[in-house]
Every structure is written in C-alpha cells, then in structure tokens.
Symmetry: C2
Subunit: 417 residues, 2 copies
C-alpha cells in the first residue's frame, strides 16, 4: 500500500517535470528506449524464461504461454513500434484551433498531457513497452501494473526503460512498473484519485469489471467486442467471403474479430451456402437463424437469443438473414457492443447510410473488422480501446492521452457586462 502510494506521488512530481520537457527530448528518450530494448535483449529473454517456466508449472493454457513469450523477433517488433511512435507528430503543445473575438481577444486551444495514467493489464508483456512509449510521447507519467504471470518480464522491460530515461536526463519516475503481483495492488491503485488522472484496464471482462466497480479514478475501457459484418444485397460476394474469413478466422480470440454475420435476404441463397461450407472447412461452428438453417442444412446449430450479444472469442459465428439495411442496423443497435461493424456493399447510398447510422467506435465499408486496432489505423500503437463515448471512442493513441486548455492573448481587455 505504502509503496504504491509512494510510487504514485513520485509519478505526479515527474509528470509535472515531463509536461514542460521539449519535444526533441521526449523523442530522444523514446529512441533510446527502443535501442536499449534491442541491445539488452538478453536481460529480457532471461527474465521472460523465468515467467514462462513458472507459467508452465502453473499449467497456463498454451494460448496464454504464447502471449507471454518474448523472443528476439517480438522484442524487435516492440522496438519498431516505439520508433514509429517517436516519429509521429508531437501531440503536446499543438494548438488545435485559434480564433479572434470581436473585442480582439485571440483565443486558442492547446493540447496538454492528462498527468498520470495508470495501466492495469494481463499477460502480454509488450503492453509494458507500448504503454510506456505512448505515455511518454504524450507527456504523461505512467504507473504500470501487469499480470503476475509476466512480472519478471515487465520488471526487466521497466528497468531498461528507466535506464534509458536516466541516460537522456528524463526523470525515471515517469515510467514505473509496480512490482507487486497480487490483486490488492489494483485495489490500492484505483483509490489514488489525488495522484492518478486516468486508469485504463486491458484484459478480460472480469478484470475490467473489477477495476470499474472499485475505481475512484476515471476509467476508460471496453468490456467486449461483438463485431458485425453486414453483407448487403449489392456486395461483391467474393470480397464479402474474403472479408468474413479474415474477420472471423485470422485471430478469433481478439475483440475485433467478427462474432455475427448479417446477410441481406436477396443474396442469402447465393452467398450463404458457400460461405458456411468455407467456414466448415476452417473449423467454424455456425449458429444460424431459421433461414440460415433452411439454406445451409442441418450442420447449422439453431441460434438462440443468448447468442446474439455473445462475444465467443472462438471459432463460433452467429448468422442472421435480414431484410435489408434497416434490419441490420437495428440488430446492431440492439445486440452490438459499440465496438466495430463493417458493411460489404457496392451501393453508394447504403455505404453512406451505414457509416452515418451505426454509431460504433469503428465503422468500415468493404474492409475487415480486424483493422480496428491502433497500429493498423496508423496511431503507432494503442493504449486501449474505448467503447464508451466520453473522452475517447475506439482505439486510442498518444493524442487521446491529451486534453486541451484554452490559451488567450489579450491587450488589456476587461469584461462588460
């Protein structure tokens, strides 16, 4: 308890120093971190091996072990991500608008850091580097509390980051990894409203609900991604099949994978049997509406009302034949999670209507839902995804870790009345 409070206090002081650190200084620190992560790769791998060994003893699933492993290639990719962030335009100090009032006051809005950000995450140790880099880029101090299964790896990465900061004359308290693995560390962290400005939990729904229910600090989060693809009447059906395969199969365990396929009834007969056959080959279980069952035979499991809002995170797919765009949009409104939806269409008006009417955080035309990701959208990396609309909505990059203050230049103006 005492230790985390101390870390938070030091973070707040460091944030104050960081807020006025010049852009080239922050960039140099980022590049130094990237270099040192590669140069000191062995330290990371050695620490990581301890985590992996421990994880195997604890019988973690293969998927979890896979997420945990850091090898030379993954470390290089971490460093590359940081270099990409370093090269991006600096969000801090950007004046986003400026206008003159009738009385001559020049009024502008300038981006400033939020202050201190807390990140609470599970297995993947690359989050440590990504989150630290995005916070540093945006002038925020960060407290990182990763999963117990990745503790040694996270601490090793944290040491290298702090060393790099010191080498560049940046206070090393800007990035701190909390060395305490148990859940009480989270409980302590989320009560520190006087020191933390924002908490971003990343992980399973259980972790996120735990953070939201206990936090006095503002939280930005998403619980789940129930992503939809709507294949419209005019869709290029080959394109539709390729997008659906990619959205469902390329990585089924992530939040931007498709969970529900909606098909316009006018093309259902031509599209669905082949699509379902393809999914069968790829090992995807289909849970379909009555029309899907009628078109695609008995291998289709009847879908239930509980399936529609379910995030399977697995090779399972809900399928519904709809009367058209209106029904597709209504279905998404009713069962969706405001995460990511895509329409496949050749019709201009329907593309525009879908974009306008679907208020999910990411809405695509003729592209896979898998692009709903900070890296893929050009943010360099992402600090998280928000499916609530306040402050940020969708994948969040460095710019989303800033706010704006009003700056006003006068020549002695006073107010009347």
């Amino acid at each position: 308890m005492e230790q985390i409070l101390e870390m938070a206090k030091r973070a707040k002081m460091a944030a104050s120093a960081l807020a006025t650190l010049s852009s080239p200084k922050r960039k140099a620190a980022l590049l130094r971190i990237a270099d040192n992560l590669e140069r000191r790769e062995n330290e990371i791998v050695t620490a990581n091996e301890k985590d992996v060994e421990e994880g195997k003893k604890k019988k973690l699933s293969n998927a979890m072990i896979d997420r945990l492993i850091l090898d030379s290639e993954r470390i290089s990719s971490m460093a590359a991500g940081i270099r990409e962030i370093a090269e991006q335009p600096d969000p801090v100090g950007e004046v986003t608008r400026m206008w003159t009032r009738p009385n001559g006051l020049l009024v502008g809005k300038m981006r400033i850091p939020l202050g201190v950000v807390g990140i609470i995450y599970e297995s993947r140790p690359n989050v440590t580097a990504d989150a630290a880099a995005l916070c540093l880029k945006s002038g925020n101090a960060v407290l990182l509390r990763g999963g117990s299964e990745a503790l040694e790896s996270n601490l090793a990465i944290g040491r290298i980051i702090q060393g790099s900061l010191s080498e560049e004359g940046v206070p090393e308290e800007v990035v701190q990894v909390i060395p305490i693995a148990d859940r009480n560390a989270i409980l302590v962290m989320v009560q520190l409203e006087d020191y933390l400005d924002l908490i971003i939990p990343r992980g399973g729904e259980g972790l996120i609900r735990f953070v939201v229910e206990n936090s006095r600090v503002p939280v930005i989060k998403h619980y789940k991604g129930v992503c939809h693809v709507f294949v419209d009447e005019s869709a290029d059906l080959e394109m539709a099949q390729a997008i659906c395969v990619n959205a469902k199969v390329q990585r089924p365990g992530v939040c931007n994978a498709m969970e529900t396929l909606l098909v316009h009834e006018a093309v259902a007969e031509e599209f669905l049997p082949k699509m379902v056959e393809k999914f069968r080959e790829l090992g995807v279980e289909i849970r379909g509406c009555s029309k899907t069952q009628a078109l695609c035979g008995k291998d289709v499991v009847p879908v239930t009302e509980e399936d529609w809002p379910t995030e399977y995170l697995d090779l399972i797919l809900s399928v519904k034949v709809v009367a058209g765009l209106d029904e597709a949009v209504s279905h998404i409104e009713k069962y969706g999670s405001s995460h990511t939806e895509s329409i496949v269409t050749k019709d201009y008006a329907n593309a525009q209507a879908f974009l306008r009417r679907v208020n999910s955080s990411v809405v695509l035309v003729n592209a896979s839902t898998r692009f709903s990701d900070g890296q893929q959208l050009g943010l360099g990396a992402e600090i998280g995804i928000s499916t609530t609309k306040l402050h940020a909505f969708g994948p969040m990059g460095a710019q989303d870790l800033t706010t704006t203050k009003f700056i006003i230049f006068g020549e002695g103006q006073v107010r009347t009345p």
Copy 2:
C-alpha cells in the same frame, strides 16, 4: 422513480432519431424555439412570477431572487443566445481528420453525439434554454432537472421548447424537464447508467459533491474557481489595475472572478498601495501576506494558510508578493483549482512561459479572468465548465458534447498478419 425512468427511456429513443436528423432540421428547430420563447413571453413571465412569489415567501436571498427573475429583456437575451447557437457550424458529422494507410484504407474521424445528457442545476432558469439548445445543436437528447425554486419557470420554458420541436417534426422527447422538485429525483437520475451518457451538475459545491458521490453515470464538473492574476515585473500597471478591478469586482459571486492576486516584488511598492486603495474604495477586503501588510498599512488583514485555496465568491481578495514567475506558478500549482489564471506582462518570454507552464483550463495574457466563459470565448453559450481533464477542460460548448467515431473506406482489404 418510475416517471423519471420512463422519461429517460423516451430520451434514449429520441436521441437515436435525433442522431440522424439533418443539420438544417436541427437549425430550424433552434430558430423556432427562439421565436416561440419571445412570442410566448407572457407564459414564461406568469410562471416565473409564481416562482418569485414562492421564493420570497421562503425568504430566498435577494441575490437568489435576482437570479430567478425572468423579464422581457432576459427572455430576449435567452432567445438571442439560441439564435447564436443555431448559426454556429454544426459539430455533428464533421470529419475532423482523414488519412490514408499504406494498404489504401481511407481512415477518418467523424463527430457524433454522445447520446443522452442529464443536466442538474440550481436557480437560474435560463440554463433550461441554454442547455436544451446546446444539446439539440450537438444532436443529444437532454433531461433537465432544475432547482425547485425555478420549477414553474423551467416547466414553462420546457413546454415552449417541446411545442417548437413538434412544430418542426422533431420528437419532443429530445428535451424533457423533470417535473419533480425534491432531491430524490437527482438520486434516481444519476443511477440511470443504461440511459444517460453524461451528467453535468451546475451549482454550488454541495450539489456537485452530492452528484459525484452518487452517480454511476460519468460526471463532468468543476467544484470551484480559485482564479489568480499575476502582475509581472514588466506589467503595464494601469492595465494591471483595470484587469484586477474587473476580475475581482465586476461580478464577485461567480467562479471566474479573481480570488488571489500575485504581484512581482519588483513592482509591489509601485503597484500595490494604489491597487489596495482602489479596492478599499470598491469595498474589497484585502487579506495580504506580510509584505503586502508592510506596503499597504494596517487595513490589510493578515492572510492565513486557509485563505490561499479559498473561493470567497465575495468582495474579499488574497494578495501575495512573489519573487517572480517561478514562485507565481508554484503558488498556482499548490493552491489553484485548475480553473482560470491570468498574467499581466509586457515580457514576451514570461507570457509564453506562463501559458506553457500553467495547466489550468483557461490561461490568459493581459486579459481579465472574467472572460473564462463559453459565451465570451465564442462558444455561443456554455453547458458547463470542466476543471478535470478527461473529455473536456474549461468552458464547454456544443462541440464538447460530441465524440468521434472512426470511419473507414476500403476496397476489400483484409488484415495480414
């Protein structure tokens, strides 16, 4: 309870219809509201007279009665504010950025409404019209819960707004005034996390703390405004005196009035005695540091540690002589409320340093703190002021009631890897 829940449900449905209502439609509705408020002025005045009479029976202070009164002039000014909002560019649908990814995806960010906004406020009935207009402009439905002392006035304004919406074919549930005056209405409202996207409380610190402590819906708020003016060594001292008088005296009971004056020691002897004399004439009590006492004589009350963070909302002022910019900035960091601070200076570097280093929501050079106000800054009106950095910081206009979604145009792109 049941009634407020029903209102919230209807608001959510109305918000969904409103989100796709065209910009000219929303503009026409705003202009209709402005016209009808003026045309049906008598209804408002009659309702308002009941509130005022009731208020006098309850022995409300003169200041509260004054805030409550609506006359022809104030109603015209309400209508003028709405017309100004109507003429502003429409924030909804604005694409704030757009860029192309190497794979050809065209990625943009489009402004969309938040959904349903709840406003909880005290005496001033003009908030009903301002808040309704800003929400309508930004495509949000709104639930308005004003103070019991203004209930009849608020209901009358609400009826006129709903009538105007109907005349323009906009669902009247977009703007609803909660007709229940007791505090339980607030308690019910702040629990409706499934229907409300944001709550903005406006009023005294007690009301705001009550909302924050009980709300499950995100809250944007500010508790108090402890605003500072720093008179730098190089200040034009006449300008400094005019700014200080305006900031302290023009309307001492509001959050953007100056509460603390910081004076550079190099000009203290020249500036402070005259300034304090002027304040004395204007009836301002001075609570000064030892140097201020030494310079300005025995009428200066010794300031205490408790005074520095105090929002007097009255003709009282804390005064401190400081060694320079650094001490001024440190003092503001330690005792300020992140609301509004101003520097009076002729020095370019100090102006820039103050703007950069002070991270309050509004930072001014050579202008009165009283300009920290949505109307004054050109936002048309303000829905509130935020002194927390998440989502919005400073006076909030219609644009601050939106968020952005990602819109992505593809030609069949799928993700690898």
